[in-house]
């Protein structure tokens, strides 16, 4: 019997006024690692809750192990076979109990006792690296460790079917890889995993994937079958990538400027125009395999954003726009930021990257003067943050600074006047900018009713009303889809490149590093690496060599084998990523006696940088 069979599922809230899931069909086969991917509000959580019988669905056919979850009585015995982990970090844990006590509690709950319990507990805690922390209270663990412990607690009783709602959101890349490893080892015992994520780069890690947007399915199937675009994907490198990027908009609505490269999808009929452009501008274009983001972008299409010059700052800031020297911030005996130094140059996009709890937000708040540093020196626009510096700063906090019960226009007028911009100026500015931000139809609607992406744009606009020369943005892109994210980054880039605005931005999406001029990687309050994304990746490539993907049916055995041969590896579903200074060819693998199905060259990613810098740090 299949773990889940679903046809035309429909889930609504507020008595049908909000449609969360519409016309969704999918089947989870036994032994699958089935991944749901989509931005926040796509309907992933609702679907999972319906599958587990936590939420009543409206219509369609849904069977979990052959039983309708809406039929509460009949579904009761099925619940024993499922383990559901809701969204959020460590939701099911008892924060005051130690790691071991938590696991014991869940073992007792599920009737796992005696030697069986001890054996399994040791195995789980050792695989996740929690064994040495077994006496620490769960509340004192980092986000990633908490999430791993949550999983251990669920896995202690070997459920047949594991349903995990965003287990890796905001978790550091090292823990993320460990969580996936745990899922694979669980899956290897024959059990089924249904998991959701908002990270597009996690798509490759499952056996099946389903991409969702606005409650509907975009595509589904195995990664290799699904991630195919009609257009050809190119990675362009050039001395002047921005000029190339500009020109590409005439051909297609898919160009994305990432660092000093441009990624673009060229439909077959436009290939001629593309080659002409290439000749004229003499850039190199390497055909690449499309990824999930390419697919999404091809399906939805991007939109060019051109900002009017009203956002040009009236004041010029010094060359060293933001200087942070040896800043330490302690809360009691907890050190949130531990001796971090960096300088943001005028007009630069500077990214603070790191998992939840790394100290990014604390650092940005300390720089802004919301917290006073325990030690160290900070200057913004050449001065410590005071009244005259505040006028030069635009800021959006993690929670967005909007009043949900006011309309978009009321919000903008309010924030304008807070920054000393008169209502008439705000209104004339809004009338110019609304089409660029696509806000016209939302201006007189209350913020509470708006989709996340629109809220994010309004929040950004509200921070720009006084055309500040320095922008601080705290996790502005959390949970939005790639198209929304592109609009956002276009605005930031225009501000930085055209108007010389300095931008300091935090994010836990490692792939967003590509949009920044320079990044600071943070982990547990400490700076792990600092530099431009290209430099950081190049440095790692020099140390570790190139990356390759090896396809196999037995990823664990293959990884063991490679490790024993001295290679650095990472697991990606039924693929193993391997790093080697010596070029790896099929012949070389055969020579080494490594069994494989397929070999493909891969890339060093920002996540690789993070993982290896953190691990070499320890």
């Amino acid at each position: 019997m299949k773990p889940v069979e679903c046809e035309n599922l429909r889930i609504t809230y507020r008595r049908g006024r909000t449609v969360a899931v519409d016309n969704l069909s999918f089947t989870v086969g036994s032994g699958d690692i089935f991944i749901f991917i989509g931005p926040d509000g796509a309907g992933k959580s609702s679907t999972f809750k319906a599958v587990c019988g936590v939420l009543t669905y409206d219509s369609g056919k849904l069977l979990t192990f052959g039983v309708d979850p809406n039929d509460e009585k009949a579904f009761e015995p099925v619940k024993e076979r499922i383990s559901f982990m809701p969204q959020g970090l460590g939701q099911n844990l008892y924060k005051k109990l130690s790691v071991e006590e938590n696991v014991d509690f869940f073992a007792d709950l599920y009737g796992v006792t005696g030697e069986e319990r001890e054996k399994r507990k040791k195995l789980l805690l050792k695989t996740t690296g929690l064994w040495e922390f077994r006496d620490r209270p769960a509340g004192k663990l980092s986000g990633g460790m908490m999430q791993k412990l949550s999983l251990c607690c669920i896995l202690i009783h070997r459920p047949e079917f594991l349903v995990l709602d965003e287990p890796t959101t905001g978790v550091d890349p090292v823990s993320r890889r460990e969580i996936w490893r745990l899922l694979y080892s669980f899956n290897r015992e024959g059990q089924t995993v249904l998991v959701s994520t908002s990270y597009l780069d996690e798509a490759e890690r499952g056996t099946e994937l389903l991409l969702m947007k606005d409650g509907k399915k975009v595509v589904s199937g195995s990664y290799e079958d699904v991630v195919r675009t009609e257009s050809q994907a190119f990675l362009i490198t050039s001395d002047d990538p921005y000029a190339v990027y500009q020109k590409l908009w005439d051909i297609t609505n898919t160009p994305r400027l990432k660092g000093n490269t441009v990624r673009v999808l060229i439909p077959p009929e436009k290939l001629k125009n593309f080659r002409e452009l290439q000749k004229k501008m003499s850039f190199s274009a390497q055909p690449v395999e499309p990824d999930l983001e390419d697919l999404f972008v091809e399906k939805v299409g991007l939109r060019r954003v051109v900002l009017p010059p009203i956002f040009k700052p009236k004041t010029e800031v010094p060359e060293n726009a933001v200087v942070v020297e040896n800043v330490v911030k302690k809360f009691g005996d907890f050190t949130a930021v531990d001796g971090v130094s960096f300088t943001v140059k005028r007009g630069e996009i500077f990214g603070l990257l790191g998992p939840n709890g790394a100290g990014k937000t604390t650092l940005i708040k300390t720089v802004l003067g919301l917290y006073s540093p325990t030690s160290g020196r900070i200057s913004v626009a050449g001065k410590p943050v005071g009244k005259d510096v505040k006028k030069l700063i635009g800021y959006t906090s993690q929670k967005f600074s909007l009043y949900y019960d006011l309309t978009v226009l009321e919000n903008l007028v309010y924030w304008g006047s807070v920054y000393g911009v008169s209502p008439s100026t705000v209104k004339s500015l809004v009338s110019q900018v609304a089409p660029v931000f696509e806000l016209q139809e939302f201006l007189n609607r209350q913020v509470a009713e708006l989709p996340l992406g629109i809220k994010q744009r309004v929040a950004l606009l509200s921070a720009l009303l006084h055309s500040p020369p320095i922008l601080f943005l705290d996790e502005p892109t959390s949970g939005v889809d790639p198209v929304e994210r592109d609009v956002f980054w276009q605005v930031i880039r225009e501000l930085s490149k055209k108007f010389g605005v300095t931008v300091l931005i935090t994010t836990h999406y490692m792939d967003e590093a590509e949009y920044c001029d320079r990044v600071l990687l943070m982990n547990r309050g400490k700076a792990v690496a600092l530099g431009s994304p290209r430099e950081l990746k190049e440095e790692l490539r020099k140390e570790m060599g190139n990356a390759y993907l090896i396809y196999t049916d037995e990823p664990f055995d293959l990884e063991e084998k490679l490790k024993s041969l001295g290679f650095k590896t990472a697991l990606f579903g039924r693929k193993v990523k391997v790093y080697s200074l010596k070029p790896i060819t099929e012949d070389y693998l055969k020579e080494l006696g490594v069994p494989f199905k397929k070999l493909k060259p891969s890339y060093i990613t920002m996540e690789d940088v993070f993982v290896f810098r953190v691990l070499s740090d320890v």
Binding site: G369, L370, S397, S401, D405, L406, S417, V418
Partner: protein
């Protein structure tokens, strides 16, 4: 201009918060009406029994003097056991016991006793019952049998019927005003804390104090508007009790009180992290303020220590002044001591409350 936009935003947000708006409308209308008409400090429909051992013409005549609607005669009882029974089961507020030879002894001019047994579990009703009953019995006997040398003639000024409706209506209005002045500014500030907007404002060039003052002023204006509405509509039209003074005087005095109470509200806001804490602290602060104000118990009847502490309750001065205007028709300019106390206390609390709030952000 900037300040006007800050005010506008607060008022719009209040009006869009449907739950709070409904609560405010209820408190300033129906709640005052219910308090004024529902809570009665006079005796109404008090059930009683009689244990008449005399069973004479005079004894029956005496019982007939307990008039409706104040009293409600339920019947005769014989045994002491049944007296205990009706009181225990709350079937009566009191029992009148008339002894043997009541009539005979009265006529002879001998001493006799009438017992009034009341149910102490119903504190105010039993207290009133015994007082009323004593009066009735005394009047009956003096009227019937002899003339006393002194006659007492009470006359009540300002509230001729000694109607508790008048007092209750104003007392409840003042309580509601206090509640909202404590609650609204604190709620508005804490909502911003919860949503993380305070952080944004701290980063902005707008001084926090301007923002806080805008909140207090906006909420004060809202409460003032509701007060005017309650005064002209609920109190004067619906409950229909007289207002003797000048309404403008009443509102001006309320304006002074707005500063005092919203200062306290800022204390609440500075100590709270969420709405739950705001409501808890509001109640924690409201009860001593009400108690010490003399609204519930006359200050003179309190223990000495509480009498001294009552100086601290801002509501005390407000009640003094407001009731003087409303019930006695005293003009505002004659209330100098109350005004002085409110201004001093208000100024200090408003400044301190806002100072604390700004420091705590």
């Amino acid at each position: 201009m900037k300040f006007l936009i800050l005010l506008y935003k607060e008022v719009v947000q209040f009006l869009r918060n449907r739950g709070l708006l409904i609560f405010a409308v209820y408190a300033f209308t129906l709640d005052i009406y219910l308090a004024a008409t529902g809570i009665d400090l006079t005796l109404k429909n008090a059930s009683f029994y009689a244990q008449d051992f005399d069973n004479s013409y005079t004894s029956r005549e005496l019982l007939s003097k307990f008039p409706e609607p104040y009293f409600h005669f339920k019947g005769y009882l014989l045994s002491d056991k049944s007296v205990e029974d009706v009181l225990l089961k709350d079937r009566a507020v009191g029992v009148i016991r008339i002894p043997f030879n009541f009539e005979k002894r009265l006529k002879k001019g001998d001493r006799t006793e009438v017992a009034v047994i009341v149910n102490g579990a119903e504190v105010s009703a039993s207290y009133l019952f015994s007082a009323y009953a004593t009066q009735i019995i005394y009047n009956f006997i003096t009227g019937q049998f002899f003339k006393p040398p002194v006659e007492v003639v009470p006359r009540i000024y300002f509230n001729q019927n000694a109607s508790s409706k008048l007092f209750m209506a104003y007392s409840e209005l003042l309580t509601v005003i206090t509640l909202f002045l404590l609650l609204l500014p604190a709620a508005a500030v804490v909502l911003e804390k919860e949503r993380g907007n305070v952080e944004m404002l701290t980063v902005s060039p707008l001084p926090n104090i301007v923002f806080m003052v805008a909140k207090s002023v906006a909420m004060g204006l809202i409460v003032l508007l509701f007060t005017a509405f309650a005064l002209f509509f609920t109190v004067e039209k619906v409950v229909a009790v007289p207002f003797r003074g000048n309404e403008l005087d009443f509102l001006l005095l309320t304006l002074l009180y707005v500063f005092t109470a919203s200062g306290l509200s800022m204390f609440i806001a500075s100590l709270s992290e969420n709405m739950l804490q705001v409501s808890q602290l509001t109640i924690l602060l409201l009860i001593p303020i009400l108690y010490l104000s003399g609204n519930w118990t006359p200050i003179e009847a309190m223990p000495k220590l509480l009498q001294w502490l009552s100086v601290l309750s801002p509501l005390k001065y407000y009640i003094d002044g407001a009731l003087a205007i409303a019930i006695k028709g005293v003009p505002l300019k004659e209330l100098t001591s109350d005004i002085l106390a409110l201004t001093l206390q208000g100024g200090a609390l408003f400044a301190l409350g806002n100072y604390f709030m700004v420091r705590r952000i």
